[in-house]
């Protein structure tokens, strides 16, 4: 199993290590609920060094990315970032990604850890015929996510960059705790926060500096409950190779006014199902639980769990389009009432 540059630091801070996407990563340090609430009320720091980073550069970098990604990369100025997707020939989702424009003709693409090899092959295939260079920086990049309402305050004490001038989705270079870093005001929790791209040898010093400044270490468990509460998709759950992104709440990513790989196939399909948010009356929904309406199955839970803010079970589920409630989720054989919820499940920044 691979280790991130923070492996020893995780053990030192009491991290309970689990296998995730081929890496040993902390599930939690103290408690998932405590870490979740620390991020909602203060700040938490996650080790997301397992994620993949591809550098895309060259005179046709933009033209290539316009073809390879579903969002409109031409809208990105230097120093800005956007959420996007890679589609397959059938219009399904190869991955959901984040795209950062670092320089005039240099972009960083951040991909899900489990999809690194697949995305790399996919992009290599699409790059044929474009004057573009792709470089896989995944192994040589450490990535920390500092998230929460106090993230900016904590980080400001460690960097000379004026964070008050940085907006959501800005990306910029700065020193953090004396180490060179690339910072982005992005994240996966629904809170304000920053992601810090670092050289592996600098990761531990910056991690410790963030903790010393008041952030708590947070693990994969809290990362998942936070993203679920925020109504964000998780690849392999809400989004898969068979998913038409136009049938999801994240359809806004897909820009119909430009040409890109997979677009025509996605547009040609009618949505038989759609993704909805559900809040349960009692109990916890888990992935795979059936969603019922009128006494018959109309869908299934793709991500389910506990919302520490609501104190209830919440779920993202694929259901038949237009299915009428009342909905029930079958929890270990018993139907439990579930109400539709707008996303995010809780008010967020």
């Amino acid at each position: 199993m691979k280790r991130t540059p923070l492996y020893e630091a995780h053990l030192r801070h009491g991290g309970r290590m689990v296998a995730f996407a081929g890496y040993a990563l902390p599930l939690q340090y103290t408690s998932i609920v405590e870490e979740h609430l620390a991020v909602r009320r203060g700040a938490g720091v996650f080790d997301v060094s397992h994620m993949g980073e591809f550098l895309v550069r060259g005179e046709e970098a933009l033209a290539f990315l316009q073809w390879a990604t579903a969002n409109d990369a031409s809208k990105l100025r230097v120093g800005r970032a956007q959420y996007s997707m890679l589609l397959n020939a059938q219009g399904g989702v190869v991955d959901d990604i984040y795209l950062y424009r670092l320089e005039e003709a240099a972009y960083l693409l951040v991909v899900n850890a489990a999809n690194i090899a697949k995305d790399w092959a996919h992009l290599q295939g699409l790059a044929q015929g474009f004057r573009v260079e792709l470089e896989d920086l995944s192994e040589g990049t450490a990535l920390l996510a500092l998230q929460g309402p106090k993230a900016a305050e904590i980080l400001q004490g460690l960097t000379e960059a004026d964070l008050s001038k940085k907006r959501k989705n800005d990306v910029f270079a700065a020193q953090v705790a004396g180490r060179p870093a690339r910072l982005a005001r992005t994240g996966y929790t629904g809170e304000d926060g920053f992601e810090l791209f670092l050289a592996p040898e600098d990761a531990e010093a910056v991690f410790e500096a963030l903790l010393a400044a008041g952030a708590v270490p947070a693990g994969l468990g809290a990362r998942d409950t936070l993203r679920l509460e925020a109504g964000f998709p998780l690849y392999g759950h809400e989004l898969t190779e068979a998913t038409n992104p136009l049938c999801t709440p994240w359809a806004w990513v897909v820009k119909r006014e430009k040409a890109f790989f997979g677009k025509e196939a996605a547009l040609a399909q009618a949505c038989q199902e759609e993704v909805v948010g559900l809040v349960l009356e009692v109990g916890l929904p888990r992935e795979g639980y059936p969603v019922l309406s009128g006494g018959r199955p109309v869908g299934r839970v793709t991500s389910g769990g506990y919302s520490p803010l609501l104190g209830k079970g919440i779920a993202l589920a694929w259901v038949e389009r237009g299915a009428q409630g009342p909905f029930f989720v079958e929890v270990r054989g018993k139907p439990v009432g579930a109400s539709l919820s707008p996303l995010p499940f809780v008010p967020l920044k």
Partner: protein, 128 residues
């Protein structure tokens, strides 16, 4: 891990504390720690008759759902209603306030088939 000597244990990490002609049942410190934050408990119905090893309750943590098995055969005579509002009692006080249900065993002698504290400690050590 805390393993009180006043009660019996199962290999599936329940404890059983005899009190008069009934037995109080909960999960061990090891089990609550392994589960992490307990956020929901599905309690059995009072009056239900259960066999030894039958799934009687469900403890759900953020991570997973875990069946709780009857350590001996008997009848459920009481449940810990406090867990409906405060499931975290299982994390905070697994051997006390976090008890789950009370059984009236068919035969109190069945408790002798369970592990004592020392035996449970050894079982944990061999599991690790």
């Amino acid at each position: 891990m805390d393993i009180p000597k006043d009660r019996f244990y199962t290999k599936s990490h329940e404890w059983a504390l005899p009190e008069g002609d009934t037995v109080l049942v909960g999960i061990t410190d090891y089990a609550q720690d392994a589960l992490g934050d307990v956020v929901y408990v599905e309690l059995p119905e009072v009056g239900r008759r259960v066999e030894k090893g039958e799934a009687v309750a469900v403890v759900e943590s953020v991570k997973t759902a875990s069946d709780i098995y009857a350590p001996v055969a008997g009848e459920v005579v009481e449940v810990n209603a406090a867990l409906e509002k405060s499931p975290e009692l299982i994390n905070q006080d697994p051997y006390g306030e976090g008890w789950i249900f009370r059984l009236r065993p068919v035969d109190m002698g069945d408790l002798d088939e369970l592990l004592d504290a020392e035996g449970y400690g050894e079982a944990l050590a061999s599991e690790a």
